[in-house]
């Protein structure tokens, strides 16, 4: 009898844990939560390639590790290239092991973007996940190319004067088989997208928003709330792009129809304190432009 996979809106999250208790993550860390669900979806035949980022720290100190799968820690700019070599070698050796590069936004949009672009262009059979807390969190919250306009970091004490780099459209320009965005507040969405990505051969990319209590300056208990507000306000859009066909995720479709107030998302975070009305208007403008472009693309009218 054929096995029929029942697709539901609430996919089953596997019980197995690959992130053990007592990691050295900060309280309320959402990247820990993301990785927990990424690994649940990926399963045990997986190798994680991790460049310098919060994940290099939270796995613990040698010779112990808090992860139940092998983690290959590598230099900052090199994750996609190391994963490239690993994927080629596994293929040469006839192994189907999942190769997942798991990198922060600094390691992706800034120092690692060249290696990532190369790996995507070469059709590397791997999944690259950028967990995005919109700054260099591991070194104490300096601005990255992914920091949004107006956000205060230790190197933008007056608020960032530049827009967040549009990583996803750069990635989309590589026309890869599968790319998607998600947010730590929606673990089931993460599980579904990781499972789907890993069922496809070739280069896959996931960009996951990872709210960061100490960096974004909000109460640790509000990590899920802040993530949901990011999506509901439209500041963070969730979608999938298979080759060049875009499908908006339900949460973002809902946000497009009835968005939560942008101010609510900004107000809950200390990093946006003291924003001038002009800056808020500019943030709103770029957010609306992004949603407009995504909507048109999803409708096939752009």
């Amino acid at each position: 009898m054929k096995n029929i996979r029942v697709l539901t809106l609430m996919p089953t999250v596997p019980d197995t844990e690959y992130i053990h208790k007592c990691t050295s993550a900060c309280a309320g860390c959402s990247s820990d939560l993301i990785l927990r669900h990424v690994l649940k979806a990926a399963g045990p035949d997986t190798v994680l390639v991790v460049p310098a980022c919060c994940t290099s720290v939270l796995q613990g100190v040698y010779p112990n590790t808090s992860f139940g799968i092998p983690v290959y820690n590598v230099a900052f700019a090199s994750a996609a290239a190391v994963a490239s070599g690993m994927a080629a070698a596994f293929e040469e050796l006839g192994k189907n092991t999942n190769v997942i590069a798991y990198a922060g936004d600094g390691g992706t949009v800034d120092i690692g973007i060249q290696a990532l672009s190369g790996a995507l262009e070469r059709g590397t059979n791997f999944l690259y996940i950028c967990y995005d807390n919109e700054a260099y969190g591991n070194t104490g919250m300096q601005r990255s190319g992914s920091t949004p306009l107006g956000a205060r970091t230790t190197t933008t004490p007056g608020g960032k004067p530049h827009q967040k780099k549009d990583l996803d459209r750069i990635i989309a320009a590589h026309h890869l088989p599968y790319m998607a965005t998600s947010c730590s507040a929606y673990p089931q969405d993460i599980v579904r997208k990781v499972e789907k990505a890993l069922s496809i051969k070739g280069p896959k990319f996931l960009h996951i928003l990872a709210p960061c209590p100490p960096g974004w300056r909000y109460d640790t208990a509000k990590t899920i709330e802040v993530g949901k507000l990011a999506v509901r306000s439209g500041m963070w859009a969730m979608y999938e792009r298979e080759y060049d066909t875009l499908t908006l995720s339900g949460q973002t479709k809902a946000a497009m129809m009835k968005p939560a107030p942008l101010e609510e998302y900004l107000k809950i975070q200390g990093r946006f304190s003291g924003l001038k009305p002009d800056t808020i208007a500019e943030i709103r403008q770029s957010m609306e432009r992004n949603l407009r472009l995504l909507k048109k693309e999803a409708e096939g009218t752009c």
């Binding site: 045990p44 035949d45 997986t46 190798v47 390639v49 290099s56 720290v57 796995q59 613990g60 100190v61 040698y62 010779p63 112990n64 590790t65 992860f67 139940g68 799968i69 092998p70 983690v71 290959y72 820690n73 590598v74 230099a75 700019a77 090199s78 996609a80 290239a81 190391v82 994963a83 490239s84 070599g85 690993m86 994927a87 080629a88 070698a89 596994f90 293929e91 040469e92 050796l93 192994k95 092991t97 060249q114 290696a115 672009s117 190369g118 262009e121 070469r122």
Partner: protein, 368 residues
């Protein structure tokens, strides 16, 4: 089979004969021919390997690291700025204990742009934990590349090996080449620490200073152990294939009263200079230093030394002369010659010996 080959093609042929599984490389003059030839082998099917045309040298070494940790035989080639650009990962490869083999085609550094031979590029990587050998003929480039895999992959070593050949004066010249059927000279690679989902663990995670010092000292222990592995490998190679190599390539040294020490192709030029000097009644010999890491124990006796450095450490001096002084306590006449492909003939080398002023340094062709 006896054939003719360039230095670059000899390296590529050796990489194929060694059964390399992954090659990740980026083109740079004068190394490009190596990666072009390997790409040809893979495309035509004479080499069963994955060839990864990476977008930079940093990624070339990164991809080799990712491949090597799975336990597959891995190779890359570079030169000059390429080696400098990948330097972070060059350090990483050694500390990650990966038996990667790399050919570096020695070339000067810019600015100004200069593609000709010089050793400053690879000597900047001398403290990285890589073993480094310098070759002087097409045959030696081939043989040293084959031996590099066996040495690197030996459990007592598990360190990467860099084979250095001079840009153009070796990479692009044509000499005879006797290739070999490698047979079981290089055993299958068994990497004890290869990454394996069946054995989860953290590789290169945060490390306390107590463990860090232990791990670093282990690199040095392996470097010391590599001395015996190199000796065994070169002896086995000589037994099987009839060509002998050692720490130095000595020419008429037995009764010599003055020695020329050099690296790379200048060492072959020096042999002609020795013949000229001998005909003049000067008891001279040439000692071409092949291995720089691990640095050999040189038996120099009480002979006068003329050290030719095709490199320079600014504010210090020639690196070979400095190393000899540090290891043996002997002073020398240090000639800085051949930088940026500067023409150095055997007549010039003979004149270095005739005009030697022990305890001084001189730049050939210029006064400073």
């Amino acid at each position: 089979m006896l054939t003719i080959s360039t230095g670059n093609n000899a390296v590529a042929a050796a990489v194929r004969e060694a059964g390399t599984g992954v090659v990740a490389a980026y083109p740079i003059t004068p190394q490009t021919e190596i990666v072009e030839q390997i790409a040809n082998f893979v495309t035509k099917g004479s080499m069963k390997a994955s060839y990864i045309p990476v977008e930079s040298e940093h990624s070339a070494m990164a991809a080799c690291i990712g491949a090597s940790i799975t336990g597959i035989r891995t190779f890359t080639a570079t030169s000059s700025h390429g080696l400098l650009y990948m330097n972070e990962m060059v350090n990483w490869a050694a500390a990650a204990r990966l038996p990667i083999v790399m050919a570096n085609v020695n070339r000067a550094l810019g600015p100004g742009w200069n593609v000709w031979a010089e050793h400053t590029d690879s000597l900047q990587a001398r403290d990285t934990g890589w073993l480094q050998v310098y070759v002087a003929t097409v045959q030696e480039a081939y043989d040293a590349t084959l031996m590099a895999f066996r040495i690197a992959e030996d459990r007592r070593v598990y360190l990467p090996v860099m084979v250095n050949l001079d840009g153009f004066t070796l990479s692009h010249i044509t000499q005879q080449l006797e290739d070999v059927k490698i047979g079981d000279f290089i055993p299958p690679l068994v990497l004890d620490h290869k990454i394996d989902p069946a054995h989860p663990g953290g590789y290169g995670c945060m490390t306390s200073s107590v463990d860090y010092v232990r791990i670093r000292s282990d690199i040095e222990r392996s470097m010391r152990d590599s001395v015996e592995v190199i000796r065994e490998t070169e002896a086995e190679f000589a037994k099987r294939f009839g060509r002998s190599y050692s720490w130095t390539d000595d020419y008429r040294c037995e009764d010599a009263e003055v020695l020329i020490l050099s690296m790379g192709t200048l060492g072959k030029e020096a042999e002609v200079a020795i013949d000229i000097l001998r005909s003049e009644g000067v008891k001279a010999g040439s000692m071409r230093v092949r291995w720089i890491r691990p640095f050999p124990n040189l038996d120099l006796g009480d002979r006068e030394l003329v050290v030719i450095d095709r490199n320079y450490s600014f504010g210090f001096g020639g690196i070979l002369a400095g190393s000899i002084r540090a290891k043996t306590g002997k002073t020398c006449y240090n000639v800085i010659a051949g930088l940026g492909g500067q023409e150095v003939t055997y007549h010039d080398i003979a004149s270095f010996v005739r005009n030697r002023k022990i305890g001084t340094e001189e730049w050939f062709g210029v006064k400073i």
